[in-house]
Amino acid sequence: MTRDDLLLILSALDEPIFLVRANRQISLMNRAAEHLFGLGLTGRDFVHAIRDPDALKCVEAGLSGAASTAAVITLPFPVRTIYRITSVHLESGGMDAKAIVTLADISHIHEAEQMRSDFVANVSHELRSPLTALAGGIETLKGAARNDAQARDRFLAIMEREAARMNRLVGDLLSLSRVEVNAHMRPSTPVDLRSVVEKAVAALDAHARALNRAIRLDRGEGEFIVPGDEDELTQVFHNLLDNALKYAQENTEVNVSIAHAGDVPGLGGRAVAVAVADRGPGIAPEHMPRLTERFYRVDDGRSREKGGTGLGLAIVTHVLNRHRGRLMIESVEGVGSTFRVCLPLAATAKGG
């Protein structure tokens, strides 16, 4: 096989590949490598392609005889990319090289693993606190508070609250997991969005009044039929209304309105927008990009105290993604926030 044949074969591969001589000079680069690192490096030391110290150690290990060595490196520019660099020793073969060095782009895998371990850590943390409170309550009831009716009642109330919190968390985790499993399958059943919103508002009406707040609904004009999953959409509005009631100031209204929306980027002209607006403390701009992250809270103490699981907006986002819709958030600190759910209308809907 000639050198040109080899180059042809290697250039058919997506991954950047280098053939490296014993003195660490580059003998050959495939097209993917040239695309990433530029031309003119053949014959020069490998360091002129990649300077990362871990990459160099890996290349040297391969050159010195270790059968195969790998390392994970990050190349931060132009786009931050994580690579697994592998260096395989070549004993003979006539090719002017002592090692083959390849780069595999593992950014997505790395990111996914990072997110997974973060998530597991967060869930463990979220479950641990109520569990600790429960265990503490049980111990107290077995011991010091055993014969003290008042203390018993107090601790039982705490335990009930914590058990309910864990229940909600597990429920939200299951919801999230269910939505994710179906994420790529866009639902197609026609759903009357107005009816879904009305039901959600009605369900939370009593809760609102108990909190000295009110929900006002503007039903909009015309029909709003969207392809969707009724249960999931119900959960979206339930979560948004729940949040709004949590953060709205006492004696204020949460305003819900439904209307056609022609201005939503990515949804064309045929969409419906349901806005949930509260007069709460508002959200500072630096929190906005992270609001829909799982377990992200603007104010830890306040959120837990109000019984939040930290997953409400994550669920909303996933459901909307599945429905090919969007969540738009506007907020002014000290004034309030508006969460706008935008969904594409069903193709045969009237009144568009």
């Binding site: 530029g38 003119g40 020069r44 030391d45 360091v47 002129h48 990649i50 300077r51 990362d52 110290p53 160099l56 990050t74 931060p76 520019f77 630096e286």
Partner: protein, 241 residues
């Protein structure tokens, strides 16, 4: 010079370039780790970064010794002489970058103490600018690419602007809450270090240009850092009633 000596000399020059690139890689890593340790609040990474400076210092000495040997033995002229001198000067800049990274890492704990979260995005953005400058100028050196070196040289204004903006932002936070003064001041010193990293990138860019073109890049460099020019930098004061 006899042919085998020419070849040996060419190899020595190439070796010098290699040492610079290697040293550059170490400095890049130091900088990245220092910034990551602050961004991710990773104290152990910060400590490791502060300790790893030794290798960079060693390479600087090696480059200097090698350069002196080459000048003594080969008595080079013109572009060869420029190569050697520039390698020594660039190695000094890279050693300073390593030091600056070490200093940033050393401040990490103080910065964590009372997290100035609001300032973090701006700090990280500035850090990325500085890191990109170093990366681009080292690539320019490896390839003797004067166009790229000029781009780096011009882009220094962006870092100065980022520094000024961060300076103002931190001032407002410190005035809002005196408890933040400590950590904001350390963040400010860290930002100053980043600005210095940018300056070293510009120095290296000038070297690359001089190396290839045989004449210096510019007589003076515009200083856009107006916080040092004596113009007061203050957030807007509320007008009294």
């Amino acid at each position: 010079m006899p042919e085998h000596t020419v070849k040996a000399f060419a190899e020595e020059l190439e070796g010098l370039g290699q040492s610079i690139a290697t040293m550059g890689g170490l400095a890049e890593r130091q900088l990245a780790d220092a910034v990551t340790s602050i961004e991710r609040r990773n104290l152990s990474l910060a400590e490791r970064t502060a300790e790893a400076d030794i290798e960079i210092d060693r390479l600087e000495q090696e480059i200097e010794s090698q350069a002196i040997l080459m000048i003594a033995r080969r008595q080079p002229m013109a572009s060869d002489l420029r190569e050697i001198i520039c390698a020594v000067k660039i190695s000094t800049d890279l050693e300073r970058v390593g030091d600056l990274a070490k200093n940033i890492a050393r401040r990490a704990e103080r910065i964590f103490e009372s997290h100035p979260q609001r300032a973090m995005p701006a700090f990280v953005r500035m850090a990325r600018l500085a890191m990109q400058q170093i990366k681009e100028v080292l690539d320019a050196y490896s390839r003797r690419d004067t166009a790229k070196a000029l781009e780096v040289w011009k882009a220094d204004a962006e870092i100065d602007a980022a520094y000024n903006s961060l300076f103002r932002e931190l001032l407002t936070y410190m005035m809002e809450d005196p408890r933040d003064i400590g950590s904001c001041t350390h963040l400010l010193f860290g930002a100053k270090n980043l600005e210095r990293v940018g300056d070293h990138a510009t120095n290296i860019a000038e070297m690359v240009y001089y190396l290839v073109e045989g004449e210096p890049l510019a007589e003076q460099r515009l200083r856009l850092d107006d916080t040092e020019r004596g113009r007061p930098v203050e957030p807007e004061q509320p007008t009294s009633a």
